[in-house]
């Protein structure tokens, strides 16, 4: 269970816009050094999915897509661009919910999310092609690469979370969630931990990495790409490391899919 009594989150200033092929760990390390934010053991570096995808070159050109009959039909139902819908279907296992202006899918990685995370905002609208950005191929692996290289660069053992922002059933507004995690327990199982009165807790698993992503989201904001990296310092934990994939509920155990 967490035992920190104080934590600090800092948005890393001065990061350049990220392009395909950029050495993201080096770019982040340079920005941290320039801002005099030395990493220490157990620091958590939260990196927005968008710049991870950009560095990994996860662009597709919507202009080059020919929508299927299924995509055309679904586009009419959801009032979306058929090429966009085709790109969403290509990244998904199945459609979970559809209605005008909403298309919730199960992404091939297991995330239940709107539009398979395929976002056109923050991309140059004047380009000759119509680019869209996919999620990283394997966000836990992206987190692990960043963790390994940033840890080496600062000679410490840090954790990394690749974060995104998801809408939710029942409640309005998006919140930060973890798509990828390395060096940290993304999910903490507290079942069997006794409480203050000695009674064993009924539940409870804690989505530790999602809570960290939400905390970081308070500083990242939503409307620009200016602060896509946040460092969390002072947090401690006593649970085995688990990737963000551990946060996914199995479809057959999900009452709402």
């Amino acid at each position: 269970m967490p035992s920190s009594s104080s934590i600090r989150l800092t948005a890393v200033p001065g990061l350049p816009l990220i392009s395909p092929g950029d050495d993201l760990p080096r770019v982040i390390a340079n920005a941290l050094r320039a801002a005099r934010i030395p990493l220490a053991d157990c620091d958590v570096v939260v990196v927005a999915q968008k710049i991870v995808s950009k560095a990994e070159g996860r662009y597709i050109d919507l202009a080059s897509i020919t929508p299927s009959v299924e995509a055309e039909s679904l586009a009419a139902e959801t009032l979306k661009d058929p090429r966009h819908v085709q790109a969403i279907l290509d990244e998904s296992r199945r459609v979970v919910r559809r209605r005008p202006n909403a298309l919730v899918v199960e992404h091939r990685l297991g995330f239940v999310m709107a539009n398979a995370g395929i976002d056109q905002s923050n991309i140059d609208p004047n380009a000759a092609i119509d680019p869209a950005l996919l999620l990283p191929e394997d966000p836990d692996a992206s987190a692990e690469r960043l963790r390994s290289e940033l840890s080496d660069s600062f000679s410490v053992k840090i954790a990394v979370i690749v974060s995104d922002s998801f809408g939710r059933p029942f409640r309005l507004g998006a919140v930060g969630v973890a798509l990828g995690a390395a060096g940290i327990p993304a999910l903490i199982d507290m079942r069997g931990v006794p409480d203050l009165t000695g009674r064993v807790l009924r539940a409870t698993e804690v989505a530790f990495a999602d809570e960290i992503a939400s905390a970081a989201s308070l500083l990242m904001g939503q409307a620009d790409e200016g602060r896509p990296v946040v460092v969390l310092q002072g947090l401690t934990w006593h649970a085995p490391h688990r990737p963000a994939a551990a946060l996914l509920r199995r479809p057959d155990e999900d009452m709402f899919r």
Copy 2:
């Protein structure tokens, strides 16, 4: 949109166990002063629902409840205590999902949550009666009282969030959420805000108070009542204040209810 570049969260030490009738704002103010955590304008005090409910005397005695036929039937389906199920039904508008070991309801306040938030953990198991704790009668009003009295006590303008921890569809693990909020925009509407390239964002509403509750949850832990108050310092915002009730999706606009 948020413009802070660094925030700090601190768990307030030394809070006593809370009992019905306790003057919670005074207890929290005393603990803050003893810990030399002076509140400043725009600080956010996050208070766990459990101690708000206790101070408000929101106990019921499960031993005194006679379950209805409906509660008996639902208890058999969900493998729960029929008196517990009756207490859940008494606090709910309707059952949203049921299965063995799970009962998700729409609470009378609109929250879609397990067991209507009626929890037996952390309560003395040796008591002659079988007490359970309900949510605060009106968590936004509870937050507003705490905001008003703590602001007066420190001669500053602070915000207060009454937090709880909810499970979610699709993803494992509980995360912090806001049941009540005062002095802060619980939900921020960023639709129409231009991004770095000048393109107007498609979406996006941000569940600001839920993200704060999740951040605070990192320090509160789950297994004890020892750190039910967390102070968040350094956060700024530029949006109108809205209570936590603004976070509730209308049932007829919810694709998953």
